[in-house]
Symmetry: C2
Subunit: 453 residues, 2 copies
């Protein structure tokens, strides 16, 4: 039997050529003129799955862009892995900042440059190649299902419904996803937490029209000043969020997991320097990594009131507005949190103004089970390929569909990401370290071996 290392060595040129075929299709989901490209990309994936060894592969319609579904069943008693990825990509603007054509992949040094090189064409394609190897070498130990969507970069508006409609077809023991990053090429990590989000918009209304700040200033509550006070009151001097009940459902992370997280290398001085800030700031008693990983946060995302042009205008504004979002952790419920902040702001506002709070949208946080078979198998896979255990990391960001998978399908996800921060996903000159592509394929094969036992 050919080892995966040898297999990769023999077939790497073809692997890349096949990936290039996918990358060359400009499947930008947010731009309607690329609608035909979404169909082309889906069809390409279907073909690749069949070539790699799927028994069945289909381009299935949704309310938006189609989902590519493929499967190979080896044994009804074997475990089933559902691979999730997405074939859509982000726009390429500002295109003038690209050093290469974003849709003509090019290797420079040890990296492949293109839109989608990492996110998520490059990362999802590793699964196709790992699958191909296991089929051809007859060592596939699990049933495999593939689900590739075309709307991840616009918030997966159709996938949840599609999943609910195909629940039985999608039955699996684990959802395997490569759409995240690892700490460094030689420091493997698994994303074990994603924060949720509750996003609200606040409007404070004072007088029924803009007033002259001389004639009325001092006697009429200024909604901008009131809003500033309300915002300021949401976080106390220890960095705690003061919304009543906000922390009620927060799962405290064990000392063991915090210790494991703390092993991740983190250079705070470099972090500050990159952001050009003199100090970090956050909740007392937690590290920077913890503040963005295991703790909820509250940020003003936008704020506006009155005159914002050049120079001076002496207006006492009629209204003041803010967009405020809270990043949530398990088991906070985003709808409950939205109601809590709305109630809190209403109650704290002086009677001299009116306050409206609209919950714009949100998503639940996600936490992996570090004691699960899938996680243990992944640990062994990384140990085999990298010679060290992966560090469990928690991302401050949200991938709402991951929480939706658990809610709708009842299946946990395993986020084996091989991206790096240097890959500049969503930005000009996106790239993917070729070594990570190959080692990703290798690690995925190792995962199946351990998980299928």
């Amino acid at each position: 039997m050919t080892s995966i290392k040898d297999y990769i060595e023999t077939h790497k040129e073809r692997f890349l050529e096949e990936l290039y075929g996918l990358i060359r299709i400009p499947s930008i989901s947010s731009e309607t003129e690329h609608k035909p490209d979404m169909e082309r990309a889906a069809a390409y994936w279907r073909e690749q799955l069949l070539k790699a060894g799927a028994d069945r592969a289909e381009v299935m319609p949704t309310e938006g862009n189609p989902v590519v579904y493929g499967e190979k069943k080896i044994d009804p008693h074997a475990k089933t892995v559902l691979v999730y990825g997405h074939y859509d990509v982000m726009p390429v603007d500002p295109v003038e900042l690209w050093k290469t054509d974003p849709f003509e992949p090019q290797i420079i040094g040890d990296r492949l440059y293109a839109r989608g090189a990492n996110d998520d064409k490059g990362q999802s394609f590793m699964h196709a190649k790992a699958f191909e190897y296991m089929v051809r070498e007859n060592c596939l130990p699990c049933n495999v299902k593939f689900m590739l969507e075309g709307e991840e970069e616009i918030g997966s508006p159709s996938l949840e419904k599609w999943c609910a409609e195909h629940k039985q077809m999608l039955e699996a023991d684990i959802i395997l996803v490569s759409d995240t990053s690892m700490i460094a090429p030689d420091i493997p990590s698994i994303t074990v937490g994603l924060r949720g989000l509750s996003y609200v918009e606040v409007k404070v209304t004072g007088p029924n029209k803009d007033l002259h700040s001389g004639i009325f200033g001092g006697a009429v509550a200024n909604p901008a000043n009131v809003l500033a006070g309300l915002i300021a009151g949401l976080i106390d001097e220890n960095g705690h969020i003061t919304v009543p009940g906000f922390y009620d459902d927060v799962v405290e992370i064990s000392a063991e997991e915090r210790a494991a997280m703390a092993k991740a290398p983190f250079d705070e001085a470099a972090y500050r320097k990159a952001l050009d800030i003199a100090r970090t700031q956050g909740e007392k008693g937690f590290s920077t990594i913890e503040r963005t990983g295991i703790r909820p946060s509250l940020d003003v995302n936008g704020m506006w009131s009155g005159y914002t042009g050049e120079g001076a205008k002496t207006v006492l504004p009629s209204t003041a507005h803010a967009k405020i979002s809270m990043r949530l952790v398990p088991d906070q419920n985003w709808e409950k949190i939205g109601r809590q902040i709305a109630d809190c702001l209403q109650q704290r506002a002086p009677q001299s103004v009116k306050v409206e709070v609209n919950v714009l949208h949100g998503g639940q946080a996600y936490g992996a089970d570090l004691q699960s078979d899938a996680y243990k198998a992944a640990e062994q896979a990384y140990l085999e390929v990298y010679g060290k255990l992966p560090i469990p990391t928690r991302s401050g960001g949200s991938i709402p569909i991951i929480a939706a998978f658990e809610r709708v399908l009842g299946i946990k996800s395993l986020l084996m990401g091989f991206g790096l921060e240097a890959d500049a996903i969503h930005s000009p000159n996106e790239s993917y370290l070729l070594e990570n592509f190959y080692r990703g394929v290798e690690t995925i094969v190792a995962f199946y071996k351990h998980f299928g036992k």
Copy 2:
């Protein structure tokens, strides 16, 4: 000798026709295409002053629009009155809201409708007609000087320098101004205070670029949240401004004057209803009238940060901005106050952000001397015409040039205004109550009589 009442009765049609000639010139100082109209309006005033009896009248250049200067000297030992007014007007937009042509004066009911009917063509023209009467009837008891500028509505950018260059020519015992309002047609009042202004712009800078609020939220100080906290901290729960030293130079108003002010009729319920607010709000221990008249205030005039478009964007903004102005009272110094708030914000800001404060502009507050000969003469004049003493009122707004007159020329001003709130100055359908025009002329003549004694 003809009484002023009879004189007005005989000549009122001509008075109005002469005023119409001035009103028909669209002398909008903020619109450059009206530059020739500024010259025409100045020339018209010069002619009117000569016709009314001035020994000398000139259109004098400044760095901006010209000043019309006129004078009649009767006796080097007599007191001298310097009349100040302005011939420029505000724009007329939105012109579709006007019920009449803004530059074709029209009487409807008891009011004259036109741009400038009150501000300040109508009000300043009363002085020309009072002067004409006193000259023709040979009862002018004072030397009189006229100074009419063409840039009041754009902040009098040239007048202060012009005054400094013509200090000797402008020597006078009092500057007489009709450019303010009185409480009601039957409740005369004199504006004895104008608040000053110190206007600053604040910029809070956090990270060197907008960040993803998921990845960084909770660990990096958010400049919008920080700015909200800084603004909130500027006013305490009693409505006191917390900037160190802010109240050091505030002149406390005597119990007598507060009692006199309190005689002004004020319907707080109607005030709240007009603004559609449930409560007024301001400094503890002071009434609404006092809060805008004799006490300083602090208002956010504008505020902006991050994403302000529709929907949700999860950005942790790099910067946050606010325009903040403070209305000042005697003897606060606007430049000192600007420095104080700048220092205060710098000191209070956490080290996780950078704060810049720019003092944009300002003006000193003005307070009249209620014990002066001029004020006493004005009191007698109103008593004679209205049958009651005028109520001393303090305007929350600013007329920076009034403080500049005192600083540059060393002359106090007397603000005998005959406007009403209903006149809608600066707005569509500006008007002036004809009765106030005639009684204004009468009161001005009475003032000269008492002041000239």
